[in-house]
Amino acid sequence: MSDQPILTLDHVTKRFGPITVVDDVTVNVHRGRIQVLLGENGAGKSTLINMAAGVHEPSSGQIIVDGHPTRIPDTKASEALGIATIHQELQLVSSLSVAENILMGRLPQRFGLVDKREMYRLATEALTTVGLHVDPHMPAGALGIARQQLVEIAKALSLKARLLILDEPTASLTKHEIEHLFGLISQLRSEGVGMVFISHHLDEIASIGDSVTVIRDGKFVAEVPATTPEPELVRLMVGRSIDEQFPRRATPPQEPLLSVQGLTRKGTFTDVSFEVRAGEVLGIAGLVGAGRTEVVRAIAGADPYDTGTVTVQGKPLPKGRIGAAIAAGVGLVPEDRKAVGLVLGASVEDNLGYATLMSSARYGLVDRRGQAKRANLVAKRLAIRMRGLGQRVGALSGGNQQKVVLGRWISAGSKVLILDEPTRGVDVGAKVEIYQLMNEITAAGGAVVMVSSELPEVLGMSDRILVMSDGRVAGVLAAADADQHTVMSLAVKEVEPDRV
């Protein structure tokens, strides 16, 4: 085989209005090789690959496919060139079936009609490839976010592309599915498929990548082999070195802040009890679908439950009343920030202020000065990267959006922070900042409950680890006694084998 790249993004630049998001970057993708893109949140990775996916066209520079300069004006053109893309944001229609989502835009037809049998056959095949055992008739919206991610992957793989772009495909997956996915990727690589892989999990890079292109602030920084040690990658990426990936500063635990007793919702979770003390970080681990999200939402008053009690600082909270939970000092950072965490069309300042909007108002008047002051302070403290507090939150990078949701609760002075997958899609630098924030909260006498599917994070940042399995508490471990093995063995307890 020749050494000619399948795809070259040749000195491409992308401007949105006055802002240059990608600035003169060159990336080559070869057959059977995995090109990793590395960069902080907002560095321009997604924008870069979107030029190959037919979402954006470069403002300058060119796209070269098989040695020929090519235009890729839309998705169809990209697919026609043999490029398949798994986008960072889930792109599913929740009311349509899994099968229709997988084959969207290319439903099999017979005599001009949709061939439903063939559709379900192809979909089942694609689902089997990724090891997802769900009924393809199910509406995609009924699946949890991880399964939806797997559906996306199945969708892209079923295109049988020769170039596969994966923009943070592992962000919502647990170890188990990631391993399966990496198996698939290795197989495709051996079949000669070229790939672009974006991830904020540095450990994945060494295990899967061939070569790494690092970009910072939209500019090319370096291209290095995937074997480059992590600290060096971090330094290239953020322009400085990060000493410690999990900088947990344990605080001596004090009085209990949050106490959950016998929490049950039929069919979802059963008899969940635990306690979190001031100054403590409780990690909640478990497989996808273990019911962690449901439990923490119920605690925060977002959903109702059948039996059990939730007590904060000795005061029992009424069932399903968010307002009461917030007033008692509970703050929930939900797992799907775009869908339920942020008002994407509103400004950063507005989003930071929602939790205090009503409570800080006097005679119904918005406390404009106070809201602005709090927003300013929090934005500075969390180092939110933005053009100004008036910027639309939807235009921020993922990591910065996550900081905005967190900032809302810091601003509201919440004592008990419940973080559901707080670092999903967040870059190393920002991750450490979020961890440091957790430290500050516990040091100030607050408590943190952190649901995470990233085991290293759970192990690195928690003081105690609660493992859930099939809606029940499978066990609680002190951080010192826990390692990947002990946590996983609890997590798979009671799980039937065919479950993801």
Binding site: T75, Q91, L92, S95, L96, G105, Q109, V114, D135, P139
Partner: protein, 332 residues
């Protein structure tokens, strides 16, 4: 939210459950068409209230009386599934019927050609609205509100404000073959066509994708703009058919025909379980919605409720019919 698929998800269906599959299908249909319960409650109430309701003749009347709004609403279903709205259906119906009558009467076109002119008028109006939405990026509310006004104005211009007698073919569409009223036949045919488009054609499935998640549809290579134009074009054609049936029933194309029907058509679709936010909606639901409206009006006439109170009751019944559905879904 109701399901958009023809069969609701029957995950982990036991294999070999063929015997019960018919019953299951009926159950599926009921659960997917919540307003059906509302319709049945309404019918039972009417039956108890007046013996005139449940006569074969009156039921056919209800069918005839539902036909125009139902056909408009079928077309509207496509639009609402894509998260759009078509306010112009009433005016476009009137314009199409008027063009059909006028080309027949004044230009002396043969009846079938005149009818074709009517249909083409609906198509053209729909395509214009669609293009204004998809390409000129006007909000559907504005594009179709403009069309509402333009089409009504053109109807008046064409007719000079005077009703025009319809041709034989159109009158036949409004008449009946033996005991079978043609409007009901047309209603069923258009319903079948609508169902077929939404469920069996890829463009129909694409409508759900566009309405459910426009960005996802675009990224999956669905030609979103073309789908949108198709949707409004279909709504235009369905409106033309509704207009022809309406003028056929009256043997005359009226310049003010179908004024205000857009709200009825949209209401029928929403009562039938669709969401104005897009991605959901089915033809069977829309039919039920149109029947709910027709049964209320028919029943209140039969019961001799005063014209003033009728409006109060119609409002309440619409709210209750949809309320039943909302409750039922919450329980499920």
């Amino acid at each position: 939210m109701s399901n958009t698929q023809e069969t609701t998800p029957t995950a982990q269906k036991a294999p070999g459950a063929d015997v019960t599959s018919k019953r299951a299908k009926i159950a599926d249909f009921v659960s997917a068409n919540g307003a059906l319960v509302g319709l049945l409650v309404l019918c039972v109430a009417m039956f108890i209230a007046t013996p005139d309701f449940l006569t074969p003749n009156n039921l056919l009347n209800v069918g005839i009386q539902a036909s125009v709004v139902a056909i408009l609403a079928f077309g509207q279903t496509f639009v609402i599934v894509t998260a759009g709205i078509d306010l112009s259906v009433g005016s476009v119906a009137a314009l199409s019927a008027m063009v059909a009558a006028f080309t027949g009467q004044s230009w002396g076109m043969p009846p079938l050609v005149a009818l074709l002119f009517g249909l083409l008028t609906g198509l053209a109006a729909g395509m214009l609205s669609g293009a204004a939405t998809a390409y000129a990026k006007l909000p559907p509310f504005i594009a179709t509100l403009a069309m509402l006004s333009v089409a009504r104005g053109l109807t008046l211009v064409v007719s000079n404000g005077i009703p025009v007698p319809t041709s034989s073919v159109v009158t036949w569409l409004g008449g009946s073959i033996g005991p079978i009223p043609m409007p009901v036949v047309v209603l069923l045919v258009m319903g079948a066509i609508g169902w077929f488009i939404l469920n069996r054609l890829s463009v129909g499935r694409a409508m759900y994708a566009v309405g459910g998640n426009l960005e996802a549809a675009r990224l999956s290579g669905i030609p979103v703009k073309r789908v949108l134009v198709t949707v409004y074009a279909l709504s235009g054609i369905f409106a033309a058919v509704a207009g022809l049936v309406l003028s056929g029933r009256l043997a005359s194309a009226q310049p003010q025909a179908a004024t205000g029907y857009e709200l009825d058509a949209i209401a029928a679709v929403v009562i039938g379980g669709a969401s104005l936010a897009g991605g959901v909606g089915r033809i069977s639901g829309t039919l039920i919605g149109a029947l709910v409206l027709a049964v209320i009006r028919n029943g209140l006439n039969l019961l001799n409720v005063s014209a003033f109170w009728q409006q109060v009751i119609i409002g309440l019944v619409i709210a209750v019919a949809v309320g039943i559905d909302v409750l039922r879904r919450k329980r499920a």
